[in-house]
């Protein structure tokens, strides 16, 4: 950490609140929360785009990300799973790079020449998009296998954070346990929606390839991690801004069985399950609970029906939550005062009896002013205390 007085001043408020409020380790705190007990303060998870991470490190005088998270009082540490040792991901002349599934991505720059300039990796080519039969899809040469990973370092990498921090095994965005997402990457989003409406055989075929891969892969990861993994996270985006992207019946028809299997495997290894989805999935929550989900993340308050107060009242006995901080309007467009009110609202309505982890509704985006990021973390420590 840099010692200049300016950084000390900027860090003062958070340090002061933490000293006053914290009476346990991050791991103890988060374990209590997901087991529906009240810890000393609400645990904190953190999702940021790299541009914001960089700005935060510069603002608070942190030399690296580890220092930043430690200073901010972030309790959850991400584990990305085993190391990839399969064939090298192919680079193409058009600048795209293939991933685990053979899906090619390119880098797209936004906000060119503005203070919020940044980049996203976007799908540029979906290998199964133009295939028309199950036979063709089965014959696809690049279906991945769990043998492409080296699991030997998972345990040590998780143990690095123990006993201080809470370790969440979440994979990275491209190989996170899921069903619909890899299907969309492989087949294209639009074609996937068409398939869901009119090509059930193709949906089931791609889904089975994806699901069978994860059913084999996850036990290897959990087995390798042993007691050093605290929670498992999977994710799919089933919600849009105003409701689920697909009907509850369709979810049950295509995605329920594997959702349950994914949860069951984690439970067999003594792990609770966190599930990421964007958007409004209110209609699906009873099914999520029935099929084994422990923690729903990352609540998106601007989506219809995802108000944390209501969710806590209706489902808070069976389900814990992570999220609730709006990255669509309040963080990029609001004032620090708006940010504080948002944190206060979530804390007041979700903290009772544990079962809540602070978090943003997705990565804090590059269009967010630093003063709002500061307000967010200061408010976490101000309002999170039990």
């Amino acid at each position: 950490m840099k010692d200049d007085p300016i950084y000390k001043d900027r860090r003062y408020r958070i340090n002061e609140l933490r000293e006053k409020n914290e009476k346990m380790t991050s791991r103890e705190r988060t374990l209590k929360a997901i087991n529906f007990e009240e810890p000393d303060r609400i645990p904190i998870d953190n999702w940021m785009v790299p541009e914001i991470k960089k700005r935060c490190m510069a603002y608070w005088g942190c030399e690296n990300e580890e220092e930043l998270l430690a200073f901010l009082g972030v309790d959850v540490r991400d584990n990305y799973g085993p190391s990839y040792v399969g064939q090298e991901f192919k680079k193409f002349d058009d600048g795209t790079v293939a991933d685990l599934w053979g899906v090619r991505r390119k880098i797209v720059t936004y906000g060119k020449g503005t203070p919020h300039e940044g980049t996203f990796k976007e799908v540029a080519w979906s290998p199964l998009e133009h295939m028309t039969s199950v036979e063709e899809i089965n014959a696809y040469k690049a279906w991945p296998t769990p043998d492409w990973w080296d699991y030997s370092k998972v345990k040590a990498e998780c143990a690095y954070w123990h006993p201080e921090y809470f370790v969440l095994n979440k994979g990275d965005r491209l190989d996170r346990t899921a069903q619909l997402k890899p299907m969309m990457y492989l087949r294209g989003i639009q074609q996937t929606f068409i398939d869901l409406a009119v090509n059930p055989d193709i949906v089931e075929c791609i889904r089975d390839h994806v699901v069978n891969y994860f059913l084999e892969y996850n036990p290897k990861v959990f087995g390798a991690g042993g007691d050093e993994i605290d929670m498992f996270m999977m994710g799919d985006d089933m919600g849009g801004q105003r409701g689920p992207l697909i009907s509850v019946d369709m979810w049950r028809k295509y995605f329920r069985d594997a959702f349950k299997k994914y949860c069951d495997i984690a439970h067999r290894y003594g792990l609770k399950v966190m599930y990421h989805t964007c958007g409004d999935v209110y209609q699906l929550i009873p099914d999520f609970i029935e099929n084994g989900l422990d923690c729903l993340q990352s609540l998106q308050p601007q989506a219809t029906n995802m108000d944390i107060k209501r969710l806590k009242q209706e489902f808070g006995k069976d389900l814990s939550f992570q999220g609730g901080m709006d990255i669509q309007q309040v963080l990029p467009l609001g004032t620090p005062e708006d940010v504080k009110k948002m944190v206060q609202y979530a804390a007041e309505n979700a903290k009772r009896g544990g079962g809540y982890i602070f978090g943003t509704s997705h990565n804090i985006q590059a269009d967010t002013a630093m003063e709002n990021v500061v307000a967010l973390f200061e408010a976490y420590h101000e309002y999170g205390v039990y």
């Binding site: 797209v108 929606f193 801004q241 990029p332």
Partner: protein, 211 residues
């Protein structure tokens, strides 16, 4: 059930092949393209739009309905471009703003606008500001429809509206915006003329902007 009603059912249920064949037959029976659009295609799209609003239909069903409408329109297009049989409601230039490559929502909106009787010029994704201006002028569009999925990319919408003002075009065109991070507050903030949360409502909005 009349043949036109049958067509609207095919569109509503996303049966593209059947919609195309039936449109061909209707033309053969000397039904005007205008009537086919109004009483067949638009009716079918409005029906699926209502189901979508009531959570009886979701994105997959909306997508295939919009595609079926597009298939039927393909058959009508040669008739429509002659201009005598079918008059469009107006021209919409649509695209996803620069830095953003998401097109699923935008595509459904474009297809439903076209099925809804508009002439639609779809510029695709990651569209630079200058291209929007150029195409709006070239096509003498009445509506500019902008889409974005991310919050940092949506700021390009504000820049486009400012550029329209500078070019003296702002009074001549309505700007409608949409995408996950767009709401009425953001619409007001940047001075757009309207926002719609989904494709069926985008069609209603476009109609109201030209009313």
């Amino acid at each position: 059930m009349s043949t036109l009603e049958k067509l609207s059912e095919y569109v509503e249920h996303g049966k593209g092949k059947e919609a195309r064949a039936l449109t061909q037959k209707l033309l053969g029976d000397n039904i005007s393209a205008n009537k086919i659009v109004q009483e067949g295609i638009i009716k079918g799209l409005d029906a699926i739009g209502e189901k979508f609003a009531a959570f009886e239909a979701f994105v997959p069903e909306l997508m295939v309905a919009a595609m079926a409408a597009t298939e039927a329109l393909e058959v009508l297009r040669p008739k429509m471009t002659h201009g005598t049989l079918h008059k469009t409601l107006g021209t919409v230039v649509i695209g996803t703003v620069e830095g953003d490559v998401h097109d699923v929502g935008k595509n459904i909106v474009a297809m439903m606008l076209e099925g809804g009787g508009f002439n639609v010029v779809d510029l695709g994704v990651d569209v630079p500001l200058a291209k929007f201006l150029k195409e709006v002028k070239y096509h003498e569009a009445q509506i500019l429809a902008l889409s974005a999925l991310y919050t940092p990319t949506r700021l390009a919408m504000r820049d486009i509206i400012e550029a329209l003002k500078k070019e003296g075009l702002r009074d001549k065109i309505s700007v409608m915006i949409g995408g996950a991070p767009i709401d009425q507050d953001f619409c007001n903030l940047i001075g757009a003329d309207g926002y719609a949360p989904d494709a069926p409502q985008a069609v209603k909005l476009a109609r109201s902007l030209l009313a």
